[in-house]
């Protein structure tokens, strides 16, 4: 396992006001790998992602990127190394796909420097990779959910960072588009060697697409490691309170969670 792009949390406490959302977290996310963060609703997954990306200042502890505290780095320097796609990004009114993706070049530009050929190349490449090149002049708010999500991923790609944080990139998408997005992530990792950290809901998808898995419960680390080592019936029972069997995925051999039939309906932890 490489040590470059290694994101780590040390004794991390994250709070919203007085509420402790993530407490005392020690965590290392391997560089050059795809990490999936899973856990029940309101366990602090998105908060953790905000903490890892400098959007939320830790109440205690620190977050390091290759050993350097990210809160001591300048915002721009970090933005050149790490991109983030929030769960529900705000789409500016009537902005076109290309204009949106161009904003991804923001950290690469200086106050008065003009739009460079390298900027345009990065934008074109991002559009092409995400299959949104044909949509570049379309207003984003008129796209379908899947197209819109791809446009946003294109923005993150245009930012051209080694490290990409995605907060539930597959929510609101149908199965086909979910797989499209995940395949895109896998390709990014495989071809460009990028480090990807994403929050996912579907355990099967997480097991399939991630090299490394982080399981959270109530803001604390429940388990971490390779999906095959981590994901078993006991873990699902203890974290999600669901009785299940875990079998090898017939397609990939990765763990697949099958909830038991007739199991008592376990009320989901309310958000």
């Amino acid at each position: 396992m490489t040590t470059a792009d290694q994101l780590a949390a040390h004794g991390l406490d994250l709070r919203y006001g007085d509420r402790l959302v993530v407490g005392g977290l020690d965590l290392t996310l391997p560089g050059g790998a795809v990490t999936a963060i899973v856990g029940p609703n309101a366990c602090g997954k998105s908060t953790l992602l905000r903490g890892l990306s400098r959007l939320l200042a830790p109440a205690a502890g620190r977050v390091t990127l290759d050993g350097a505290d990210i809160h001591r780095m300048s915002a721009r320097a970090l933005a050149l190394r790490m991109g983030l796609l929030p769960q529900q990004p705000v789409t500016p009114e009537a902005i076109t796909v290309e204009a949106l993706v161009r904003l991804g070049r923001y950290p690469h530009q200086r106050l008065l420097s003009p739009w460079s050929a390298a900027d345009q190349r990065a934008v074109d490449e991002a559009l092409e990779r995400t299959g949104t090149a044909g949509l570049r002049d379309h207003p984003v708010d008129q796209l379908s959910g899947g197209q819109r999500q791809r446009a946003w991923i294109a923005l993150a790609l245009a930012q051209d960072t080694e490290l990409l944080l995605l907060d539930e990139p597959t929510t609101f998408l149908d199965l086909r588009h979910q797989l499209d997005v995940l395949d895109l992530v896998a390709a990014l990792h495989a071809e460009a060697g990028r480090t990807v950290v994403m929050v996912l809901h579907d355990l099967g998808q997480a097991a399939r697409y991630a090299d490394h898995m982080v399981v959270l419960k109530d803001g604390r680390l429940a388990a971490t490691g390779a999906p095959a080592d981590v994901l078993d019936a006991d873990l699902v029972k203890s974290v999600f309170d669901v009785d299940c069997r875990v079998i090898p995925d017939p397609e990939t051999g990765t763990p697949l969670v099958i909830p038991k039939a007739g199991a008592v309906r376990h009320s989901a932890v309310s958000a």
């Binding site: 919203y16 006001g17 959302v21 609703n41 309101a42 602090g44 997954k45 958000a271």
Partner: protein
């Protein structure tokens, strides 16, 4: 993860008024204190026992006359105007879904002000009691115009309502200034009324607008659950079975009735309608079933406290309540705004 931030009501959540009971009681107690102070204090202070005698016993002297003849009507009018403005503000913000909105946004105060200033200019009126009907007519006219401008395909567009109303307000305000600058006597008479005041008015001024005020209050309170749904956005509200267009129209009507009645009695007191909902929200949350009753208390509280203060600071003269309200409420609003985290 979803930090329930200010102003987002939780429609599905159980109605937990009981939890806020101590706050409501504290508010009511403060209001009672203000009423007592309003009856007792002023250019000529009266002892509490004399106040009680004047109200319930058979005291006669000058002090008693001051209490029953001047301060009682003034206090009652203050209560009514404050309540009307507070509730109207909360409804206006819900209907336009804009925290910058207030009854002023719908052009109501500006319409009343323009009508009154023209009446002073053309008909040579000179006492607030004569202004009531002009203020009513002006407020209603402006409000109808603003609502008509905002109508679109049977629904009222919130952005149009806010924008159109504000534009209308600015036009009317500039006309008001023009009339006042053309004629010095009008300027002299109108500027006091324009500051907003509850002094020098008898209960006869309040009576004619009382039905409008009560009707407005009833509509507003009845609407409060639907206003919660409205805050979730039109589509969600519609899917929850809330008739969005009708609710918005009814809300607009309530605001007009309440704010129109208030401006007719007290002149344009601008700040309460804007500030009361913002002052109450950090304390009670965004649920309109709590917010509206909260404003019903906070509005008069703010107005009466300002009125009493206005009588005390430059005794024996006094400051107009509309001015003191802003002086009193602005720091409060700035302090509470600091509590807003996001």
């Amino acid at each position: 993860m979803t930090a329930t931030h200010q102003g987002v009501p939780t429609t599905g959540a159980p109605f937990r008024a009981v939890r806020h009971l101590p706050l409501f009681l504290a508010g009511l107690a403060a209001l009672a204190l203000c009423v007592a102070a309003s009856l007792a204090l002023g250019a000529r202070s009266v002892s509490p026992s004399t106040v009680a005698d004047a109200l319930f016993g058979d005291a006669h002297g000058r002090d008693a006359l001051v209490v029953t003849g001047l301060r009682l009507p003034r206090t009652v009018i203050g209560l009514a105007v404050g309540a009307a403005l507070g509730v109207a503000g909360a409804v206006a913000q819900a209907v336009t879904r804009n925290p910058l909105a207030s009854p002023t946004t719908l052009g109501i105060n500006a319409g009343a002000a323009f009508a009154v200033v023209v009446a002073i200019f053309a008909l040579k009126l000179d006492s607030p009691a004569q202004y009531v009907w002009f203020a009513c007519a002006g407020a209603a006219g402006a409000a109808l115009l603003a609502q008509a401008m905002a109508r679109r395909a049977g629904d009222i567009d919130p952005v149009r309502l806010a924008l159109g109303g504000t534009v209308l307000q600015l036009v009317l305000l500039s006309w008001t200034s023009a009339v006042m600058l053309m004629d010095q006597r009008t300027l002299d008479d109108a500027r006091f009324w324009l500051a907003g005041s509850v002094s020098g008015r008898s209960l006869d001024v309040l009576l004619p607008v009382l039905p409008a005020l009560v009707l407005g209050l009833v509509i507003a309170l009845a609407l409060s659950p639907a206003l919660n749904a409205l805050a979730l956005g039109d589509d969600t509200a519609q899917s929850l079975g809330v008739p969005v267009a009708r609710i918005r129209l009814a809300g607009g009507v309530a605001v007009v009735l309440l704010a129109g009645a208030a401006v007719a009695v007290a002149g344009p007191v601008a700040f309460i309608g804007l500030a009361a909902p913002h002052l109450v929200r950090p304390l009670l949350g965004g649920d309109h079933r709590l917010l509206l009753p909260g404003c019903l208390i906070a509005g008069p509280l703010l107005l009466l406290a300002a009125d009493v203060l206005g009588r005390l600071v430059i005794r024996p003269s006094e400051l107009e309540v509309g001015i003191v309200t802003a002086f009193l409420g602005a720091p409060l609003l700035a302090l509470l705004a600091r509590k807003v985290t996001r």
